[in-house]
């Protein structure tokens, strides 16, 4: 298990993940990030606003960026383009 951090990209700024999360590998933490992005978007939309962040910047414990996951990529691809 390794520790990964899900920092959020907010308007050119970064909202830091202070604690991080344990996961077996990047694939597992990517799945966590997808579920987290869905919740962030859903919670914001229920409140009638856009989410604060637009993407997760996933890093390892050394701060190395492993993956940038736009929240858009966590949503159903045909959400705004049916068919």
């Amino acid at each position: 298990m390794s520790r990964f951090f899900l920092h959020q990209e907010i308007d050119g700024d970064i909202l830091e993940d202070p604690d991080g999360t344990e996961a077996a590998d990047l694939a597992e933490v990517r799945q966590q990030a997808i579920e987290a992005a869905r919740q962030l978007v859903a919670n914001a939309i229920l409140g009638g606003t856009a989410p604060l962040g637009r993407a997760f910047r996933i890093t390892d414990e050394a701060g190395q960026v492993l993956l940038v996951l736009p929240f858009r990529d966590a949503l159903p691809p045909d959400l705004f383009n049916p068919g």
Binding site: L6, D17, P18, D19, A33, L40, N43, L52, F56
Partner: protein, 238 residues
């Protein structure tokens, strides 16, 4: 062992008892440390003791078969764990555990029941606490189902604040995410929003309450009713 003197006891429920009622309970109170993560009641297992907290926070957690968990209720120096023992059952499907370390007293369920049998006023006070706790879980349900995460978190922080000394609460994002049954980044974002309003200061592993009244407004009526019931029926909370 010398029983604790009532005026020194920090558990609000024990403090609020009539002297005669307290005197019946006190000889059975055994001081106990309550380390974070200590399980007080395991689901489906018989338990033999109730716990009165002087400090720290405990919670009652329920989970789905695939391991999703949510906190159903929270208590600290306001009450006690093991109330089911006074309601006719010595086992529960829920887990009761320590979330923020503290200390308190352990009392055998048999001794607590025995004291209640002889003292209706003692039983009534303890059952008033059960009523307040049920009221709390009702509002937890309201908050969980109807409110965005920011308001749920505000309410939950207020409930923790009631049960600690001072304005600092030792909490990790991980822990809050389990208690509110949300993803951890949702906690990070919600704290950022509430901090942006100036209601709290969030630092790694620590939350400082800066504007309690504003948090209460922000919780939109989901905080306050159980606490008012406590004050009406039992006494000061904290």
């Amino acid at each position: 062992m010398v029983p604790p003197t009532q005026s020194f006891v920090r558990n609000c429920l024990l403090s609020a008892l009539d002297a005669a009622d307290y005197a019946a309970v006190a000889p059975h109170l055994e001081p106990v440390d309550l380390p974070k993560g200590m399980v007080l009641i395991e689901p489906g297992k018989r338990f033999a003791e109730a716990y009165f907290f002087n400090s720290g926070i405990g919670s009652i957690v329920v989970s789905t078969t695939d391991g999703r968990r949510v906190e159903a209720g929270l208590f600290g120096r306001d009450g006690f764990a093991g109330a089911s023992g006074l309601l006719g059952s010595d086992q529960c499907p829920q887990t009761t555990m320590v979330q923020v370390e503290g200390e308190g007293y352990r009392i055998p369920l048999g001794a607590l029941r025995g004291a209640c049998d002889g003292l209706p006023s003692l039983r009534e006070m303890l059952l008033r606490y059960v009523h307040v706790f049920i009221t709390q879980t009702s509002f937890t349900s309201l908050s969980n189902v109807t409110q965005p995460i920011e308001a749920r978190l505000a309410r939950w922080l207020l409930m923790c604040h009631d049960r600690v000394t001072g304005d600092d609460i030792a909490l990790t994002h991980e822990f809050m995410s389990v208690m509110l049954a949300v993803q951890r980044p949702s906690v990070t974002t919600a704290l950022h929003v509430i901090e942006g309003f100036g209601f709290i200061r969030a630092r790694r592993g620590n939350i400082t309450i800066l504007d309690r009244d504003a948090l209460i407004d922000f919780a939109d009526g989901t905080y306050g009713a159980p606490e008012a019931e406590y004050r009406r029926l039992i006494g000061p909370l904290g």
